[in-house]
């Protein structure tokens, strides 16, 4: 690693992305430091999901420069394996592999991409299943689990790749209310381990608790970025105040 402590682990410089005529990211500048926990929020269609999907090249950018762990991502193409290996991602819809058991979901990447042996991958998988507190579900299929359990499996699946950065794309938005906290608990715990985390979410309680920094996006731009206390108590922009009013006052 050519990284030194405190250097940005992720850096966006003038990054733009368009879907057809719609410019979803407009010349974004953004940095995240090693171990930083950033919560990204904003109205739907503001580009927050696209922002984090650009970090692992899932959504290739059109213009500007993205650097992740010292590697510059190519425009218009998938990220190199070195970047993908270092960046885990958790999706709103879990995206577990339905034809594989929980354990197989967790070991597929480590065996095929990290070239671990079956036994090593299994051991890693069980360790992370313990950590998300569902080791007893290892031999079940995803559809036999509740939404909250499925999302915890998805988190464990990402962690099995031993990433240095974790991206969360609205991880609790598809969950029933009573299952949200079990997923957030796991994420809070993960935040305590010093993992670099970028989380797109509307869970402001979670944001207050773990975020080092809040990022507010609207219309493809980063409108405001601030530590949580300042962000929630004294938002500078009108758009951000409107947004916070809408999601906090009911």
């Amino acid at each position: 690693m050519t990284q030194t402590e405190g250097d940005p682990i992720i850096r966006f410089e003038g990054v733009s992305k368009r879907f057809g005529d719609f410019e979803v990211l407009k010349s974004i500048d953004f940095e995240a430091r090693q171990g930083e926990r950033i919560v990204v929020c904003g109205p739907s269609g503001s580009g927050k999901s696209t922002l984090i999907r650009c970090i692992n090249g899932l959504e290739p950018h059109d213009a500007g420069t993205i650097t992740v762990e010292g590697v510059t991502l190519g425009r218009g193409k998938a990220a190199p394996a070195r970047v993908r290996n270092g960046v885990g991602m958790v999706f709103q819809q879990f995206n577990l592999f339905p034809h594989l058991t929980v354990l197989q979901n967790l070991t597929l990447g480590p065996i095929r991409a990290r070239k671990l042996t079956q036994a090593q991958a299994r051991e890693t998988a069980m360790r992370y299943l313990e950590r998300v507190r569902i080791p007893e579900q290892a031999d079940k299929y995803p559809r036999q689990l509740s939404g909250g359990q499925q999302q915890r499996v998805a988190i464990a699946r990402s962690l099995c790749m031993e990433p240095r950065i974790m991206l969360f794309d609205e991880p609790t938005s598809a969950l029933d209310p009573e299952m949200i906290s079990e997923v957030l608990d796991v994420m809070v715990e993960l935040a305590g381990t010093g993992m670099t985390m970028i989380v797109v979410t509307h869970e402001m309680g979670f944001a207050r608790k773990v975020a080092d920094r809040m990022v507010f996006m609207d219309h493809g731009q980063i409108v405001e970025t601030a530590p949580p206390e300042a962000f929630f108590t004294a938002p500078r922009s009108q758009r951000c105040r409107d947004f916070l009013n809408k999601i906090l006052n009911h």
Partner: protein, 247 residues
């Protein structure tokens, strides 16, 4: 339903035994000639099976290889796949058999035996349909599955092999089974170039015995039984894979 059909056919055949129009003696297993004739007819089974199974294995593989570039983001790959499907699908199977058997050796200078000419013709014809089936199956897998595979660093081949195809194949299994049944039936056309399969055997026996009604009825029954067995096999496989997914 299937049993009813089978029963009706058997009843028809049995009724025929007693009526004056039928001459079941040609295939009566109790007489020496009848027995010889039956074994002669059944001796084609080996080739029908060998031909169809070899052809279906090749056509499924070929179909997948044609389908994958058809889903590429590169336009020329999609065009190539599309062209193959449209061209091959436009050729009638019988024409394909004649062309491969009589035409291809002249073109390539290589002599092709009846068996391989049959296999190549059937496999080519069927591959276009297999490609379309695979394309539909692969497209039915949600985009999130690719994204999840991408995020655990799987490469294209591993993504297809471990994530996409296992799900696609479960969904297209009924269609693949259908193609196998179709293939078994189409193999009868290879009799025209002299392949010693079920239909050819029946044709030859008709020429010597002059009993087309009885002999072709036996031929119908041969295909019927064969295909009922195959259908049952495909259903069993479907159930097994579904049970697998439910755990």
């Amino acid at each position: 339903m299937r049993n009813v059909l089978l029963f009706a056919l058997l009843a028809l055949v049995l009724a025929g035994c007693s009526s004056g129009n039928w001459g079941w003696y040609v295939v009566n297993p109790q007489t020496k000639t009848g027995w010889t004739n039956i074994t002669f007819l059944l001796s084609g089974l080996k080739y029908t099976l060998l031909l169809s199974l070899t052809a279906i294995c090749i056509s499924v593989t070929l179909g997948l290889l044609v389908a994958l570039p058809g889903l590429s983001s590169r336009r020329w790959l999609r065009m190539a796949s599309r062209t193959y499907v449209e061209l091959v699908r436009a050729v009638p199977i019988l024409v394909m058999i004649l062309w491969v058997y009589y035409g291809l050796p002249t073109l390539t200078g290589l002599a092709i035996g009846v068996f391989w000419a049959g296999v190549i013709a059937l496999a080519l014809s069927d591959s276009a349909f297999e490609a379309e089936i695979f394309r539909a199956g692969i497209q039915s897998v949600a985009k999130g599955q690719y994204e999840a595979a991408y995020s655990v660093s799987l490469n294209y081949v591993d993504t297809m092999r471990y994530v996409i195809l296992p799900q696609a194949i479960r969904r297209i299994l009924p269609a693949l089974g259908n193609q196998l049944v179709y293939m078994l039936k189409m193999s009868s056309l290879v009799s025209v170039i002299g392949m010693q399969e079920l239909t050819r055997k029946a044709n030859e026996l008709v020429v010597t015995e002059y009993r087309p009604l009885e002999i072709y009825t036996v031929l119908v029954l041969e295909y019927l039984v064969l295909i009922l067995i195959v259908s049952a096999g495909v259903r069993w496989l479907e159930r097994r894979l579904q049970a697998d997914e439910r755990g």
